[in-house]
Point group: C2
Chain length 417, copies 2
């Protein structure tokens, strides 16, 4: 189907989607979950085609693994939808209705965004996840997934649409762009008037392409060059546990620690034990001269280069810089970070507050691992991505981020003087 | 100065701006207000150059009037800044701090956006207004005004900077792009990493250019093709007063009514009295066949053409369409409106609620004039524009729209399992 026709169909069900009751939406989500499990064989068969093509095209093992659908992963997708069904529906709430001196009653009503576009890579689970969150918030979603996952995505969308039709919900609530050419992707980014917001999900390259090309509003989600700053007053055992967790608990994620800042007064004491601990996981340390000297003999440490400070390794690597003050740490972070997650380990009250105040990022921590920046860990029950920009939503985005508001005004004949 | 250097300077004071206390900001705003009044003669002298150039270039009288600075208008700019000083400072408030099961305390702190870019036409008062709102919210602002107002803007910015320096506040809180070429404007729209948000203020052409070209997030402000729908159950006297007010109280504004929808059951009764009333202001009525017949002999009414339904006249003109149901009215509005302000006049409870629910616009009214969509009328005490898009801010934007949030997390050593 032509892109324009897909966009028209999604826009065409906006009003119907916005009017769906919460119970109708929840019933449909549960039905979709059941359907995905029923369709297990269809889904894995379609996925097998993608996997085979991937192998033929020499796709690396890591990507093949991300692409693979197993019975267990299908069950997880279904379980995700059931969880979303259990979440509170934010649509319809009226916030802060106030009476103006002229008697007008003015409130803000929470409404769906309308049509949400998602551009992503080759993780088929995103197809079901994104649908669930958009559907729960009364939005139609147009998906443009990676070429390599096309057969899997087509099968997932077909199953979801069948379940929606059986439930009497509009099947156009989920639309898939099957023409995966770059030209069509670019055209999609210019569908102002049809698509209300575009959310790219994937690596830095994909996100940059969308930000640079889209004329539709984009919510930029995030790469994370996250720092932990170990202050001179830090409890060094705590600092060790936090840095080790933030760096190694999971390496390929945006909230992992990529760079460590250490106060010069404790660098000699802290670095040897840290280097030893990180060596357990074969973490490569790329350190400035002072930190390098402090760790010598304990582990393999190499000199950091300027480009290390700005790098999101997503690997068993960490850069380490020695600083002489909190101010230097904050200035370094604000220069090199990507606005994601930053942590200080300290026992000093005023330095903790200063760090919280002055570091410019979506999530700023005192005495905790950066790995907590996540919709589930924050208690939202879901996550569509982590926004690293400042408009509309910043930080982990749950259901609320997929809604807008409109002013509703109750009058009794008021006119303006 | 080169654009990049201007952007660097604005970015360079972000942290300092974010840290300014409310009292410091208010003192500076009051000092700027006094300074503008003191500099009256400098400002009018600079403005005289722009006016003379405008005349030479054949600028129409209406635009010359918008460009003109008088003592009275300078006093109004100063008064606007004093009012902004009196408003509550939203920065620093922590919203909904909650404790997670693992003991992490997570809250959302209201913070400045950072650097705000404003692209506008030749109204010099915007220079002071935009500065005031951005400064109060701890943002640095980079202004790119119209070429025709360059001398006026330079003088205003110079006065503001002098007052800021005297107050010990960073003068880079306000920066002016003096190279008013289109190339530089386009370059400005791509200053990701320096400018956090771009707000275009002006006509439809300017806004479209910014939306289509910017890679920085844009808040789209608005053109308004606003409708009033007069339902069969309406109090026709009230309807008459509302339509007359919404159409004629001020014609050149985005919240003026441009199109009227009338239920077929009352069109014969309502149109003659409305046509007579609108004739008082020589309003041209462009009506469909039924409404035209109903008004015949009362006033000059011409047949509407398809293109009338989508037009923002900003003039003494109104289009009129007869509809057979609320559903038809809602469908027409959702097809042709610009997402600004829409009103129903009705005494029917369920139709009022249905209209509020189903019309997709920033502000939806029952029994009141669309002219109230305004930051002052909504009680915000200020307005930077009216957003007609759904991300970040929708409807009149006051100080809150110039802020973002960041998550602040207080831990005691938590790491992720």
């Amino acid at each position: 189907m032509q892109l324009l026709e897909i966009c028209r169909q999604a826009k065409g069900v906006k009003q119907q989607m916005a009017a769906l009751s919460t119970s109708k939406k929840n019933d449909a989500l549960l039905a979709v979950a059941d359907k995905l499990e029923e369709c297990r064989d269809r889904l894995t068969a379609a996925n097998a085609v993608d996997i085979e093509n991937g192998r033929k095209n020499g796709m690396p093992e890591g990507l093949l693994d991300r692409l693979l659908l197993t019975d267990n992963r299908i069950a997880q997708m279904a379980e995700g939808l059931r969880q979303v069904a259990g979440l509170e529906d934010p649509v319809g709430e009226v916030l802060s209705m106030k009476k103006r001196p002229n008697g007008l009653m003015i409130g803000q009503k929470r409404v769906p965004l309308g049509v949400i576009g998602i551009i992503y890579e080759s993780r088929p689970n995103v197809t079901a996840d994104a649908f669930g969150l958009c559907f729960k918030t009364g939005n139609a979603v147009i998906l443009r997934g990676g070429k390599d996952a096309l057969h899997s995505n087509e099968a997932i969308v077909a199953c979801i649409r069948e379940a929606l039709e059986e439930q009497g919900a509009p099947k156009e609530a989920i639309c898939l762009i099957t023409d995966t050419s770059h030209d069509t992707a670019r055209e999609f980014m210019h569908m102002n008037g049809y698509v209300d917001v575009l959310i790219p999900r994937g690596g830095a390259g994909l996100i940059r392409t969308v930000v640079e090309n889209a004329t539709i509003p984009v919510i930029e989600t995030g790469t994370g060059n996250c720092h932990v700053y170990v202050d001179e007053s830090a409890d060094l055992d705590m600092a060790l546990a936090i840095v080790f967790n933030a760096k190694t608990q999971r390496i390929g994620v945006c909230n992992a620690c990529e760079s460590l800042l250490v106060h010069e007064k404790i660098v000699d004491k802290f670095m040897p034990s840290l280097a030893k601990k990180l060596a357990e996981k074969q973490v490569e340390i790329r350190a400035d001269e002072t930190a390098l000297k402090a760790s010598e003999g304990v582990a393999d440490v190499v000199p950091a280069e300027e480009e290390d400070w700005g790098k999101e390794y997503l690997d068993y690597k960490i850069s380490v810089k020695t600083v002489s003050s909190l101010e230097e740490a904050v200035a370094h972070i604000n220069r090199y970070n990507t606005g994601h997650s930053e942590a200080i380990v300290t026992n000093d009250y005023s330095r903790a507050q200063k760090f919280l105040d002055e570091v410019d990022a979506a999530a700023v921590y005192v005495n905790a691992s950066t790995r907590f920046t996540d919709g589930f860990e924050f208690g939202f029950g879901a996550e569509i991505g982590i926004s690293t920009q400042k408009l509309h939503a910043r930080g982990p985005m749950g259901l609320l981020a997929l809604t807008s508001t409109k002013y509703v005004i109750y009058g009794c004949g008021q006119v303006r003087e």
